[in-house]
């Protein structure tokens, strides 16, 4: 799966979580711009994990602040 495809799929998954309809760019932050609280993060991560059949460990989550970083992290898991 290429990065663009991963990006498209994550954009679909994020929609119900993006309550304020923020325009999402590579630099959009989850905590700051999207105002995700801890419970939202948990549900959102679980949705991505289930869709791509991967694990995003807490250790990896700690490194992800921006949307683009999430796409990279998922892409690196599904491309190998």
């Amino acid at each position: 799966m290429d990065r663009a495809e991963v990006d498209t799929r994550i954009r679909t998954i994020i929609e119900p979580f993006n309550k304020k309809g923020i325009v999402i760019t590579e630099d959009t932050t989850f905590a700051g711009d999207l105002e995700f609280d801890s419970l939202t993060v948990m549900d959102f991560v679980a949705a991505i994990e289930d869709d791509f059949d991967i694990i995003i460990t807490m250790n990896q989550q700690a490194e992800i602040e921006k949307y683009g970083q999430l796409v990279d992290a998922v892409h690196s898991q599904v491309s190998n």
């Binding site: 993060v41 948990m42 460990t57 807490m58």
Partner: protein, 416 residues
């Protein structure tokens, strides 16, 4: 406690004073000040001036029924337990002044571990200075770099801190969700070491884990299983060994973690196991090695209490009766509870919000009833809870009195 998920980073709000390392606590300070400004008694600085029995104390000058302690089996004033402590204090002194692996293992520590091995019918028992340290030590030591810890998102703070202290990959799953756990186990790379961490009773809502299925699935997927039975020891299961015993999976779990600070009625923690190499933990587990051992009086009271808990089936029965009566009574009064049926000795009453919760807590205290006020982030799903934990020593009449207090306070505050 569900502390697994890190709160969103907020820019520190600076208030008048010079910003320093404490600025990050400004939000919490403000929350607390607002609560106190509403006129309620401070739920987090109650002092018990006298303790009359496992179920009664003088709190802030008032004779109060205790319904928010973890003294489930009412062992704290048991005459045999108190006598054993007094004897050990006289014979062995007030403290060991040393680590378990140096000068801190006395006869009493050995006897306490013997009592645990008998209680659980397991080969090995290791006593820590607290249950918190038992989780911290065992989890951080056995799950190393490249290993995976799969755990329930509502796990207790000591479990999360054990994860944070170690170097393993941490994979949480939705509370009590068997399918979510299984999916994550199956996604772990081939060959990696796996530890599944569960609790018998989750202390915020008082619900139990579906251990029969979860332990089976964990084993099928090649994981070791650790179950924290802090809130079930002495009470749940035919011999009081916990939800693992009740669910018939005690022989399949690798480690049980427990505490002396609840049913046993003193302080301390432990891990029991049948693993053939378990004893090596005493040398490699830092929260065991680098802290002083429990005082002789404490291990003597613990050992005596544990032995009495083995045969405490009458107390277990009465505690179940109390839990069922409180649960049905509160339901009939119209309160919303954390579980549809009583699953443990904890009955959690869900409050509409923190203000109402604090007002209710305060009204109950005025009535002469102490319960635990639990609020986010310690609670799941940002709930405010009034947590009631029953004791085998609460009499039938006391439980009826408690229900009357809930009715009056609930009406006064406008919750029912």
């Amino acid at each position: 406690m569900s502390e697994g998920i890190i709160q969103a980073d907020k820019p520190p709000r600076r208030t008048g004073d010079t910003p320093d390392l404490f600025s990050k606590f400004d939000d919490t300070i403000a929350l607390r000040e607002n609560l106190l400004a509403s006129g309620v008694e401070d739920p987090f600085s109650l002092v018990m001036e006298q303790v009359l029995s496992p179920t009664r104390a003088i709190c802030n000058g008032r004779d109060t029924i205790l319904l928010g302690t973890y003294n489930y089996m009412g062992m704290t004033f048991d005459p045999d337990v108190v006598a054993a402590g007094q004897q050990a204090l006289a014979d062995f002194g007030s403290g060991t002044t040393g680590s378990r692996v140096l000068n801190g293992t006395y006869q009493g520590h050995k006897e306490c571990e013997d009592a645990l091995r008998e209680f659980y019918d397991m080969d090995h028992a290791m006593v820590f200075s607290t249950g918190y340290q038992a989780n911290l030590g065992i989890i951080s030591t056995i799950a190393g770099k490249g290993d995976y810890v799969v755990l329930d998102i509502d796990s207790h703070a000591s479990i999360w801190d054990g994860c944070a202290m170690g170097n393993a990959e941490i994979v949480p799953f939705k509370h009590n969700d068997i399918a979510a756990m299984e999916k994550r186990l199956k996604r772990i790379p081939e060959g990696a070491g796996k530890l599944v961490v569960l609790e018998g009773v989750y202390s915020m809502l008082g619900d139990i884990a579906p251990l029969k299925e979860m332990v089976r699935i964990a084993k099928e997927n090649g994981a070791m299983v650790l179950v924290d039975e802090a809130h079930s020891m002495g009470f749940i299961g035919e011999n009081g060994r916990g939800v693992v015993e009740d669910a018939g999976v005690i022989d399949d779990v690798d480690f049980i973690i427990g505490t002396f600070s609840k049913s046993v009625g003193t302080v301390g923690g432990f891990c029991v196991s049948n693993h053939p190499k378990f004893e090596i933990m005493r040398l490699v587990c830092r929260p065991y090695v680098f802290t002083a051992s429990l005082p002789p009086s404490v291990v003597a009271t613990a050992a005596t209490s544990i032995r009495k808990l083995m045969t405490a089936s009458a107390k277990r029965e009465h505690l179940w009766k109390n839990s069922r009566r409180l649960h049905s009574g509160l339901t009939e009064l119209g309160f919303t509870l954390g579980t549809d049926e009583p699953q443990s000795a904890i009955v959690a009453v869900i409050m509409p919000d923190l203000e109402k919760g604090a007002a209710m807590w305060s009204a109950l205290l005025t009535e002469g009833l102490y319960v635990n006020l639990a609020r986010p982030p310690a609670t799941p799903a940002n709930m405010t809870l009034l947590r009631c934990s029953l004791c085998a020593e609460h009499s039938d009449e006391e439980v009826e009195t408690i229900l009357g207090m809930f009715e009056r306070a609930g009406k006064a505050v406008g919750i029912i």
